[in-house]
């Protein structure tokens, strides 16, 4: 297993019945990360995805967190709950500060940025700020943390989120983290001359963006999912890639690595699964 698109398009294997939707998303995101590259990961699923990739196909993946740690390692069962805490610094090769790490992103050093989303729209714009009218918010969400900067600066942005109509909306209520804005050249015209969303990873599909219109496009379906399901869970019209494939199901070994990292409680605790 070396990439997300290696499943034969004709083989529609069922999804691993043992894998929960969050686990499917996290593992799919982990498969996108190539060895030797650099990933700026938010806390939660993005961080776990990076940790899984590092135990699997990308042992030389450089993982950074917004607290300023570069090249961290992961202790199974001790994954940090925040990007700025003692246990997020384990094994760091370098600790810079919380502004300079983003300035490095602005310089262009970081291959991937992994972020979550409360809402995402057809152009990959992400909202983690406000549901409803910004002047009179229905729900005040936490805000971007580092996600606005990651989305503005990293070379390839990966959005990881559950596939639900309340999340995949026609227009996000608030652009917290810019995707392709209004499509076409609008991102570039705004002054964002680099990067942009490359992938959206969900429990139902892997999506990318049309090269010209920058509209969201179904690139592959999760094992066991079909296009109708994806469309039903999306609040806008999706493009579909001409070479639509199914992703290979989550492997037992991937699941074991993920759970070992998160829980640290595999039976053969002496041996690290891989």
């Amino acid at each position: 297993m070396t990439g997300p698109l290696t499943g034969s398009p004709s083989t529609v294997a069922p999804q691993n019945p043992d894998a929960g939707p969050d686990e499917v998303m996290t593992i799919t995101a982990s498969r996108l990360l190539r060895d030797g590259e650099i990933v700026f990961a938010g806390i939660g699923q993005p961080l776990v995805a990076a940790a899984v990739a590092k135990r699997r196909q990308a042992p030389h993946l450089t993982v950074l967190l917004e607290g300023g740690m570069i090249g961290i390692e992961f202790l199974p069962g001790e994954l940090p709950a925040s990007t700025n805490e003692v246990r997020a610094a384990v094994g760091a090769q370098m600790m810079t500060n919380a502004a300079d790490i983003f300035l490095m992103a602005q310089r262009g050093f970081f291959d991937y940025g992994l972020i979550g989303a409360a809402q995402v729209d057809r152009y990959g714009n992400v909202n983690t700020s406000i549901v409803g009218d910004p002047e009179h918010p229905l729900v005040r969400l936490p805000g971007p943390g580092g996600a606005n900067d990651i989305a503005s600066m990293c070379n390839r942005v990966v959005v990881v989120t559950q596939h639900e109509t309340r999340r995949f909306v026609d227009h996000v209520d608030f652009v917290t983290s810019p995707g392709f804005l209004f499509g076409g050249s609008s991102r570039r015209d705004s002054g964002l001359r680099h990067g942009g969303p490359a992938w959206v990873v969900t429990d139902l599909a892997l999506l990318d963006f049309d090269e010209v219109s920058h509209r969201m496009r179904v690139r592959a379906l999760q094992a066991g999912a079909d296009l109708a399901q994806v469309r039903a869970a999306t609040g806008f019209d999706l493009l579909v890639h001409a070479d639509l494939v199914h992703l290979p199901p989550v492997e037992d070994a991937e699941l074991a690595v993920l759970r070992h990292l998160v829980n640290g409680d595999v039976s053969d605790s002496q041996e690290t699964p891989r």
């Binding site: 003692v86 606005n148 652009v175 810019p178």
Partner: protein, 321 residues
């Protein structure tokens, strides 16, 4: 210019600075005295650390103990300390990129309630946006250019001005300097002059301290200046930028301090239970319980010693060796 950008600028801060004499004096004092002298009503309060890391909790509890009104809290990532300041009505505005409780507790319930009901202002910036505001303030320039917040509703809602690079024509956001009225910063080590060393995460504390108009440092340890001289590259805040130094072991508790103690999740639980039970009043009751203690040492003395020992031990285990 939007009124929300109209916090006191680098020009005023510099003029004020020329009238201060802060180099070379002994600044050791108590949290009570430092807060009394340096945190007025209506101040813009720059809070060091991020999220639950190196939060200057002893100083914030002292602010809550003494009582203030009209405060604005600025912090790149905020945890439940933001809730305490807003719930008690001492602050009515936060400038931040993120507020959450963390550790599985999710959204910040009091901030949500007060912002959604229009009782508090959540001035939203990108993480780097806050960082560059401090950095501009520390560098003594009125703005810095960046691509952060371009195209987003964050920049639009702030009414950020744009600048065009005179060499390349590139369009950039101009982030205005922020020179907070007072910075509260917790560190591992300082001398009586205010020279301060931070272990582990540096976060944005050095820029914050250099930018702020007044600075209070709490330190786990007060050391002789000669001890700092053994490793001067670790000194990240110069004494001449500091007004008051407070010796406060476990000064970030119940939040964490790198190399010293992890966050005490039992306190997070206690806080969230209080809020679940009583909403904003629950948060106020939580504050009342803590500030009933004479000072931070008395509060610490009320915590079971084995809890304090446990958070110290696990922090120790995470250190490089």
């Amino acid at each position: 210019m939007s009124p929300r950008l109209a916090t006191s600028g680098v020009e005023d801060a510099r003029i004020e600075l020329e009238g201060l004499r802060r180099a070379g004096g002994d600044k050791l004092t108590t949290a009570a005295e430092a807060v009394r002298r340096l945190v007025p009503d209506d101040a813009v309060v720059g809070v060091g650390g991020t999220n639950h890391a190196r939060t200057p909790m002893a100083l914030l509890f002292e602010v809550l103990r003494q009582g203030r009104t009209g405060l604005t809290m600025t912090r790149p990532l905020s945890c439940f300390e933001a809730e305490l300041l807003l719930a008690t009505g001492m602050a009515d505005r936060i400038m931040t990129s993120w507020v959450g409780i963390g550790h599985g507790w999710g959204l910040a319930p009091v901030v949500r309630h007060l912002v959604e009901s229009g009782h508090a202002a959540f001035e939203e910036w990108s993480h780097l946006g806050i960082g560059l505001r401090y950095k501009a303030g520390a560098m003594g320039v009125p703005f810095l250019p960046t691509v952060s917040m371009l195209g987003s509703d964050i920049g639009a809602r702030l009414d950020l001005a744009k600048v065009t690079c005179p060499y390349t024509g590139a369009l950039l956001n101009a982030v205005p300097s922020l020179n907070p009225g007072v910075a509260l910063v917790h560190v591992q080590r300082a001398d009586r002059l205010g020279n301060a060393q931070i272990d582990g995460y540096q976060l944005m504390d050095a820029d914050l301290a250099l930018a702020a108009r007044r600075v209070i440092i709490t330190a786990e340890e007060i050391v002789a200046t000669d001890e700092l001289r053994l490793d001067p590259a670790r000194t990240v805040i110069p004494g001449f930028a500091v007004d008051a130094v407070v010796h406060q072991p476990m000064g970030a508790y119940p939040h964490e301090c790198y190399g010293r103690y992890e966050a005490d999740l039992d306190e997070f639980t206690a806080y969230m239970r209080a809020v679940k039970a009583g909403g904003v009043d629950g948060a106020r009751a939580y504050v009342a319980r803590i500030v009933a203690h004479r000072d931070h040492d008395a509060y610490l003395a009320s915590i079971a010693p084995e809890r304090l020992a446990a958070v110290r031990r696990t922090a120790e285990e995470m250190m490089p060796r």
